[in-house]
């Protein structure tokens, strides 16, 4: 609610326009509504410079995929880009790119919105784009038939007739912890989004991660043993999937996006699944807490008082550089990250005391990276 911002800054004028009263404080700067909305808009558009009209080809429209979850971030990103494209069209009669929107329905395997109502609303409000909605199990259909991803589904060898939805539930039900389920679902979702983007010839994916989200991802992936993959998790540019990744919201904090949704007029709340912060306050004792939940809660609390520390984490992890040549390394069957020297699994390093002195099996087993092996143990 905007009211809570008003109470403690109501007396101050906006630092930027010096005319209106400030409605909230953004990184020590009191801002009025208009200046705040412009602030967020500018931060996002700055990140979209490579998609300017002048870089576009007259003959071929550049197409990018925007996956939408109906969370605060992805809806805001759509809203800002929609505005941006309109401005481009008004000014130059053409646009630098076109958007395809994809919603992945994961409601069969986790607590989430099914998206039908929201999809209809969003499509009506932002009608100029292509829309699609796919169930998560379509990943098995879209990924090539011979892929090792299918090898992860238990029982598939004995029963070739499993339908995609059955394959998905069979895989998810075989996992023993909430962390593992969330992790695998997330990996499958990414794979599906990428495959879909390629299938409709998008040149890249625009992810809706805020600064806070990227910081959370940095620590969560570290905690899940995927530190090796960080250069591809937060940095922009060519991804191991053979398609470019961009994070236009990387300079905006989660709480700023929440304020954006609240303050924009007409309100964007009807298009957002859970518009407010703190929806993730799951009880800590619960067995259902995941590593991602933990990090989410942590960074949402850090961003309250220490927003620069949050952005510094992202700046730091973005400095990690992939070792040249790693892109030709064998890929993990689940998350598709390149695994150095094909050293799959959790064995064969200093912290592994079970396998004695044996050299790790190169290319053996299911071909899962360290982190994915933690989620899907080989036995």
């Amino acid at each position: 609610m905007p009211g809570k911002h008003l109470t403690f800054v109501s007396e101050k004028p906006c630092r930027r326009c010096k005319e209106n009263l400030a409605v909230l404080v953004v990184r020590t700067e009191p801002l009025c509504r208009d200046c705040f909305l412009r602030y967020v808009h500018t931060k996002v558009i700055k990140r979209m410079e490579s998609f300017r009209v002048r870089f576009s080809d007259n003959d071929q429209q550049r197409k990018i995929l925007l996956p939408i979850s109906f969370g605060v971030s992805s809806v805001t990103l759509l809203h800002i880009l929609d505005q941006h494209l309109r401005t481009q069209a008004e000014k130059t009669r053409r646009t630098g790119f076109s958007l395809s929107i994809l919603f992945v329905d994961t409601s069969s395997v986790e607590k989430s919105c099914s998206g039908d109502t929201l999809m209809a609303r969003v499509q009506e409000r932002y009608p100029d784009h292509q829309y699609a909605s796919l169930p998560l199990h379509d990943v098995f259909r879209l990924v090539d038939k011979d892929t090792s991803l299918l090898g992860l589904v238990p029982g598939l060898k004995s029963n070739q007739d499993l339908s995609s939805p059955e394959q998905l539930s069979s895989l998810i039900n075989s996992l023993t912890s909430a962390t593992a389920r969330a992790d695998v679902i997330h990996a499958l979702k990414t794979r599906l989004i990428v495959e879909y983007a390629k299938s409709i010839r998008c040149e890249g994916v625009l992810w809706g991660d805020s600064t806070t989200n990227l910081a959370q991802k940095t620590l969560a992936e570290t905690a899940k043993g995927r530190g090796f993959s960080l250069p591809w998790q937060v940095a922009e540019g060519e991804s191991p999937y053979g398609i470019t990744f961009n994070y236009p919201l990387r300079d905006v904090l989660k709480k700023e996006l929440v304020s954006f949704v609240e303050l924009s007029e007409p309100s964007m709340s009807p298009y957002v699944h859970e518009p407010s912060l703190g929806a993730t306050q799951a009880s800590m004792s619960s067995k259902n807490t995941t590593i991602d939940d933990l990090m989410k809660q942590y960074f949402e609390s850090v961003e309250e008082n220490f927003p620069s520390i949050v952005s510094n984490v992202v700046r730091t992890s973005s400095k990690l550089a992939a070792i040249p040549g790693t892109s030709s390394d064998p890929h993990c069957s689940l998350c598709y990250m390149p695994v150095a020297g094909g050293r799959f699994g959790i064995h064969g390093w200093g912290g592994d005391q079970e396998d004695g002195l044996e050299v790790p099996v190169v290319g053996g087993g299911k071909g899962l990276c360290y982190g994915c092996t933690r989620s899907i143990p080989s036995s």
């Binding site: 300017r52 912890s177 962390t179 570290t222 905690a223 220490f306 520390i309 912290g351 005391q353 004695g356």
Partner: protein
């Protein structure tokens, strides 16, 4: 309900739920598996060689006590042929070290190892109490940390010992990985994950120089909870206390995270350590690319190992706030274009660069040299310890007037004793 049997021997009743993987073990199997894993760490990393004299950095706490006990056991069992001695540093904090040093003295007798105790006053001419009197409680951890980092090396050099082992465990390493991510300190992140940090002999030709000491952490992959369990089941004599001066906020925050992660997924501590090792190879300019063998870990001496590691996540105080302020000012300056980059080549100000993102900032690689004053390894002309000492000595009063407040002293040690008692009770309940 039938009692479950030990997952390893399948004969005894399982009494221990192993923290690392939640397997159910009996007491002898747990003790043996714990020792075997340390042995495995020592042999796979070739930490020791026959005939070597090894100083165990002993604080009287659980980690170093367990380290001393396990190393003694393994040295006898597997005939490493190394000579083990205990080296303790006395920071000179009344009520903090007095009791723990008594524990170390008893350990020396129990394990039949020679013990040397060196005080900050002997090494630097200042006890921590005197430092606090001079600089106040704020910021004194800097002094303690800087002095401590050199103290073990200086002490080892005095004894003519080339190798110091410390009790850093997996929780400590994981905590340091997360802490350095939170602090944005990649160079340190890449250094702290290696099991051996040694100062190459090239730096100094003097064999007795304290820049030529190898440091290793045999407990790097051992869980803190298992160390406590081991100490408990082996009835080891250790002292648990916390530094009475202030803790670091970043470490506290990281520690709280690690504890929560462990609760959600027991393997997480090990997974963070693994991530840290992998990330060390990705830090631009690090020499981990060659497997950490070439010019490896020159910076051992400046390694930020743990400050005092005493914070239990109870504060998120001044340290984070001041870093936040610093970073926010940087951001503001960058945004307003206040920060002017001065380059010798005039920058082309055209529209050329606009479409491209600026080149990623390089992490500066530290070049290690020697301190001009004490000869200690340093990236600056004069090492941090000497800089701090100079500041202290400048302000030292010519005549000291000392009044010992005995009443206060007694009450502090009383409290420490009680804390220790509570800790012991806790362990037995577990």
């Amino acid at each position: 309900m039938a009692p479950s049997l030990c997952a390893i021997c399948a004969t005894n009743r399982a009494l221990i739920l192993r923290p690392k993987d939640h397997s159910k073990l009996c007491k002898p199997c747990f003790v043996s598996v714990f020792e075997t894993e340390i042995h495995h760490t020592i042999t796979t990393n070739a930490l020791f060689h026959r005939g070597e004299v090894i100083a165990i950095g002993a604080s009287g706490g659980k980690d170093s006590t367990v380290l001393a006990s396990v190393l003694k056991t393994l040295n006898e069992r597997y005939d490493y042929g190394v000579e083990l001695i205990l080296l303790s540093i006395d920071e000179g904090i009344k009520g903090y070290r007095d009791d723990s040093l008594e524990t170390v003295k008893r350990n020396a007798l129990q394990y039949e190892m020679p013990l040397t105790i060196l005080g900050y006053d002997e090494l630097y001419g200042w006890t921590m109490d005197q430092v606090v009197e001079q600089v106040g409680k704020k910021g004194n951890c800097t002094y303690c940390g800087v002095f401590r980092r050199q103290a073990l090396d200086r002490g080892a050099a005095r004894l003519g010992v080339k190798h110091v082992v410390t009790g850093h465990n997996a929780d400590d390493v994981a905590e340091t990985v997360l802490m350095n991510l939170l602090r944005g300190d990649l160079p340190r992140l890449s250094r702290t994950t290696s099991i051996v940090t040694s100062t190459p002999s090239a730096v100094s030709s003097d064999p007795n120089s304290h820049t030529n000491i190898k440091r290793s952490k045999p407990l790097k992959y051992a869980y803190e909870k298992e160390i406590v369990l081991y100490a408990h089941h082996k009835n080891l004599d250790y002292f648990s206390t916390e530094c009475i001066y202030s803790p670091e906020a970043f470490r506290g925050s990281a520690r709280a995270l690690i504890k929560n992660l462990e609760r959600v997924r027991p393997s997480a501590i090990l997974d963070v350590v693994r991530s840290g090792e992998d990330m060390a190879k990705l830090v631009p300019g690090s020499d981990e690319g060659c497997g950490g063998v070439c010019a490896s870990a020159v910076a051992a001496a400046e390694e930020g190992e743990g400050g005092c590691g005493s914070s239990n996540g109870r504060t998120a105080g001044g340290e984070m706030a001041s870093m936040e302020m610093h970073l926010a000012q940087n951001d503001l300056a960058a945004e307003n274009g206040l920060e002017v980059e001065i380059t010798s080549v005039p920058a082309k100000k055209g529209k050329k660069n606009k479409g491209q993102p600026p080149a990623p900032r390089k992490t500066t690689k530290q070049v290690m040299g020697q301190c001009k004053k004490c000869g200690y390894l340093s990236s600056q002309d004069v090492c941090k310890a000497c800089v701090l000492l100079e500041g202290l000595n400048k302000n030292r009063p010519k005549h000291e007037i000392g009044v010992v407040d005995e009443a206060q002293e007694d009450s502090t040690s009383g409290v420490q004793g009680v804390t220790n008692g509570i800790n012991k009770v806790n362990i037995q309940v577990d």
